[in-house]
């Protein structure tokens, strides 16, 4: 673990793996949910880091020692996302993976996912748990518009576009689930640590 100061009111906690990020974020988020970490404004997990911002930062080295064994997922059943697998990139993904389209769907829907972090847009979760054979690069040219609910993969991640936006992920299908609704509490269906399953609709 490495602590990198960021300007005057933030520290970037650099970790060795996505799993360590999940554990570190789970510990910090748990402390904050229990009323600790006064002075911390935002905890932002990402692929290899957790950004901690605030006017009074805690002793992160002390808090994040001995991360092994930290439960990194939220308790409770996974969020089930029904998917119609008719995405425009199914054939390309199948070709890259050396599988047929039905097998891509079967493997995508068989995996257990966890939200590693959110970003790009409100409610956009980067899900880990994608089978290694489905790790394919982003499209060379991003689409200028991807519809809300589009289910995609890129690199080690799976995800769902919460709203219409430009996007470069390979699209496998679409879900009717509402990933983001600012008038709902909580607005985001997926938050860091949430477990997710895709089920063919």
């Amino acid at each position: 673990m490495r602590l990198r100061p960021v300007g005057w009111g933030a520290v970037l906690v650099e970790l060795g793996s996505t799993a360590e990020v999940r554990a570190a974020y789970a510990r910090l988020a748990g402390l904050r949910a229990a009323g600790g970490l006064a002075g911390v404004v935002d905890l932002v997990p990402a692929a290899r880091t957790v950004l901690v911002t605030g006017d009074r930062l805690p002793d992160l080295a002390g808090l994040l020692g001995e991360l092994a064994g930290e439960p990194a997922v939220r308790p409770g059943p996974p969020v089930e996302l029904p998917v119609v697998y008719d995405g425009p990139d199914l054939a390309e993904v199948a070709g890259r993976a050396g599988l047929d389209a039905a097998e891509v769907v079967r493997r995508h829907a068989a995996a257990d996912y966890t939200v590693a972090f959110c970003g790009f847009a409100p409610g956009f979760g980067y899900l880990i748990g994608l089978p290694a054979e489905l790790h394919v690069p982003r499209r060379a040219t991003p689409r200028t518009a991807v519809e809300a609910g589009a289910v995609g993969i890129a690199g080690e991640f799976a995800g769902v576009y919460p709203r219409r936006s430009p996007g470069g992920w390979q699209l496998l299908g679409r879900t009717s689930a509402v990933l983001w609704d600012a008038d709902r509490d909580p607005p985001a269906l997926l938050a860091p640590g949430t477990r997710v399953r895709f089920t063919p609709a």
Binding site: V44, G119, P122
Partner: protein, 305 residues
């Protein structure tokens, strides 16, 4: 007769009817938005903080108008705004240097305007963004605790349009006048190197400057042109969290200085971060303006076992 106001927009605002209470937009200008101090605490969901680009100016305007510092006001861009009051209020403007008038007569903040009065914040003579605070604040419904328009994520009310009417909170008593700080011709922003300055040949070019603000700059960030920053690591950086004031260097080598509507994470290395107390200088820098950085070393990062 329907009880629902005709022309109600999704943001809960009404399109001008007869002489509505509240604040009617006569001339929205190129970009006028509702801004308060934003929605901190949601970055882990991908929600930018947003809020006034020049937070100190919004606070100043609010204090003068008798509001809490975090009340929602109007943020204008270069050409100001014209509004008509449906009810008497104390108001105040701060930020960019611009003439403020009530029914054509110049006024100094705070000032009172009666029902039916027309208030104009003129074209910025210096700086870029003016803040118009109205006693009681702009009372559009909040989203995630904030009324700010976030130009990146689309949260909050749409930018103002001519003819629409915004609700106001209850009237206030005015605060004391407060002068805007002088805006230097070529501002110098304190910058602390890191967290990814080790991805570059050095921070020397940043300190050498100056950097010119490009025309594609916006509330997300200032696009800067100036001395080139040479990457020594070509690996792809896994996305990581960003803060306001972060100076990110994308593949094209043009630094981006992030402002209020910055994304919560980014995949290009951040070579340094501007001091929060100097961010207002960036928010008031218009396209074509030049600015410089003064490097302020901080604590070095350290490994922890």
């Amino acid at each position: 007769m329907s009880r629902t106001p005709a022309g109600r927009t999704p943001a809960g605002r009404t399109v001008a009817g007869r002489t509505p209470a509240g604040l009617t937009v006569v001339r929205a200008g190129p970009l006028t938005t509702v801004q308060d101090l934003g929605r901190p605490g949601h970055a882990h969901l991908g929600v930018p903080r947003s809020g006034a680009a020049d937070r100190s100016a919004l606070r100043r305007a609010n204090r003068m108008a008798g509001n809490p510092e975090g009340a929602a006001g109007l943020e204008t861009t270069l050409l100001g705004v014209t509004v008509r009051l449906g009810e008497a209020r104390w108001l105040a403007a701060a930020g960019a240097e611009a003439e403020v008038t009530v029914d054509g007569e110049p006024v100094r903040s705070p000032f009172r305007a009666g029902a039916g009065a027309t208030v104009t914040v003129g074209r910025a003579r210096r700086g870029l963004r003016s803040y118009l605070a109205v006693g009681g604040g702009i009372a559009v419904p909040p989203t995630l605790g904030s009324r700010s328009t976030d130009r990146l994520s689309g949260l909050g009310p749409d930018p103002l349009r001519d003819g629409e009417t915004l609700p106001l909170g209850p009237p206030t008593e005015p605060g004391d006048p407060a002068a805007d700080p002088a805006l230097p011709a070529e501002p110098v922003l304190r910058l602390r190197p890191g967290p990814r300055d080790d991805w570059f040949a050095g921070t020397g070019p940043l300190a050498a400057g100056p950097y010119q603000v490009q025309t594609d700059s916006d509330r997300v960030g200032l696009r800067l042109a100036g001395p080139e920053l040479t990457r020594t690591r070509t690996a792809e950086l896994p996305s990581e969290g960003l803060v306001p004031g972060a100076v990110q260097v994308p593949a094209d080598g043009r630094p981006v200085l992030f402002l209020a509507d910055h994304p919560t994470t980014g995949g290009y290395p951040v070579i340094g971060v501007v001091h929060p107390g100097d961010l207002w200088l960036a928010a008031q820098a218009r396209p074509g303006a030049r600015l410089r950085f003064r490097l302020v070393p901080g604590h070095t990062d350290h490994a922890v076992e």
